[in-house]
């Protein structure tokens, strides 16, 4: 009896160890080349959205964004443009609001619906209600872009970072990081700049 208990305890410990290990790896977030997990999150129209819903997609632009961050607002029009440009080519935008609405009331579901309506979002705007998806990705701020490439091995992360190099003025942009990455991916070429950084609002947990 005692032995069984000890064995049970050891097994439990091992289970716990492996469990925390997987958490640690997802914890740091995706790196370039990692396979991203699918999710099921509620869209502003009330329907649940998953990557697997898109049968014909060649990839996805997952963009963590929100209503309230001034940087996210600066990029709203450019996010719409990205969707208009790349959805027909098989790479739709999927926007996810990662903020906890109780800490950031301007980012609650009702306000997301209003924002999506007013701006005429052409893409799903999802709420990461349990705040489980953004840590898997390793998103830390808004806006934060992840380009996924749909392959036989799964949805592979190809680019992480900012949309371009000038948040203030779209007309003064010198390098369109996301456009360049998607174009290269669709052309089967190597993406030159795979990670970039930008000032953003820390995601409110």
């Amino acid at each position: 009896m005692k032995t069984i208990r000890i064995i049970g305890f050891v097994l439990l410990l091992m289970g716990l160890a492996s469990f925390s290990e997987t958490w640690e790896t997802t914890d740091a977030g995706y790196e370039i080349g990692d396979v991203a997990r699918d999710f099921s999150l509620k869209n502003v129209d009330g329907k649940m959205v998953s990557l697997s819903d898109y049968n014909d997609a060649k990839g996805y632009l997952i963009i963590f964004t929100c209503n309230t961050c001034p940087y996210a607002i600066k990029y709203e029009d450019r996010i719409i443009d990205l969707d208009k440009k790349y959805k027909p080519l098989g790479v739709p935008v999927i926007a996810i609001n990662p903020n906890n609405p109780s800490l950031s009331p301007g980012d609650n579901f009702a306000k997301m619906q209003v924002r999506a309506e007013n701006k005429g979002f052409t893409f799903p705007y999802l709420l990461d209600e349990s705040q489980e998806v953004f840590p898997q990705y390793g998103a830390t701020r808004t806006p934060h872009v992840y380009l996924l490439d749909k392959t036989e091995q799964g949805n592979v992360v190809r680019y992480i970072g900012a949309i371009d190099d000038n948040y203030q003025d779209a007309s003064k942009v010198k390098e369109k990081f996301v456009d360049n990455a998607v174009d290269a991916m669709l052309a089967g070429k190597e993406i030159q700049v795979t990670q970039t950084r930008a000032i953003g609002c820390r995601i409110k947990v």
Partner: protein
């Protein structure tokens, strides 16, 4: 058991908040593109406005003082929460040669409407400067290779030591960290 699991998840999750170990960007973009400062606005703004090149000397002064350089913005809630601690340290540690520099990352449209009123209302005594350089992917890694660009963030340095902190501070933490630069 469930409790333990939950606890370990919580712990790991908390660790993740402070620990952003992203790899260096594999960008070859090294040319310093300077921000074109809108002169009409800057003439009226009370604080000096720099691009990164202009700011850099403030991050490497060698005059025997210890500088606490805090990156913040009026739209950043956690930044405003820790602001009183920086003000307090600036006031209390003057005799130790400690000086706080508050680098605002507010956008040009906010300089007159938010930044100036905030500084005035709170009676901020530390030096305030504005960093206006939209080419963030070029300058963020120059401050710290692991900085993901989220604020608050702080540099503390003197002629012997230079360190970046990609997180917020409590008053005690800030004081203790400043102490470690003085001995």
């Amino acid at each position: 058991m469930k409790y333990l699991l939950l606890l370990s998840c919580l712990f790991l999750f908390m660790v993740s908040c402070g620990n952003n170990k992203k790899k260096e960007p594999s960008t070859a973009n090294t040319d310093t593109v300077l921000a074109e400062t809108p002169l009409e606005t800057s003439e009226k703004v009370k604080f000096p406005i720099y691009d990164f090149e202009g700011l850099e000397p403030l991050l490497h002064k060698e005059d025997g003082k210890t500088y606490v350089v805090n990156f913040w913005a009026t739209w950043c809630k956690p930044c405003l929460e820790e602001m009183p601690f920086f003000e307090q340290v600036n006031e209390e540690r003057k005799d130790d040669g400690v000086e706080v520099i508050l680098v605002s990352l507010d956008m040009p449209s906010m300089w007159k409407s938010r930044l100036e009123p905030y500084v005035e209302k709170k009676g901020i005594k530390s030096d305030v400067v504005i960093l206006d350089d939209p080419d963030q992917n070029t300058w963020i890694p120059k401050i710290d290779k692991d900085w993901d660009g989220a604020i608050p963030a702080t540099i503390i340095y003197n002629k012997d030591k230079w360190q970046f902190f990609g997180h917020g501070f409590t008053y005690d933490e800030l004081n203790e960290t400043v102490d470690s630069f003085l001995n």
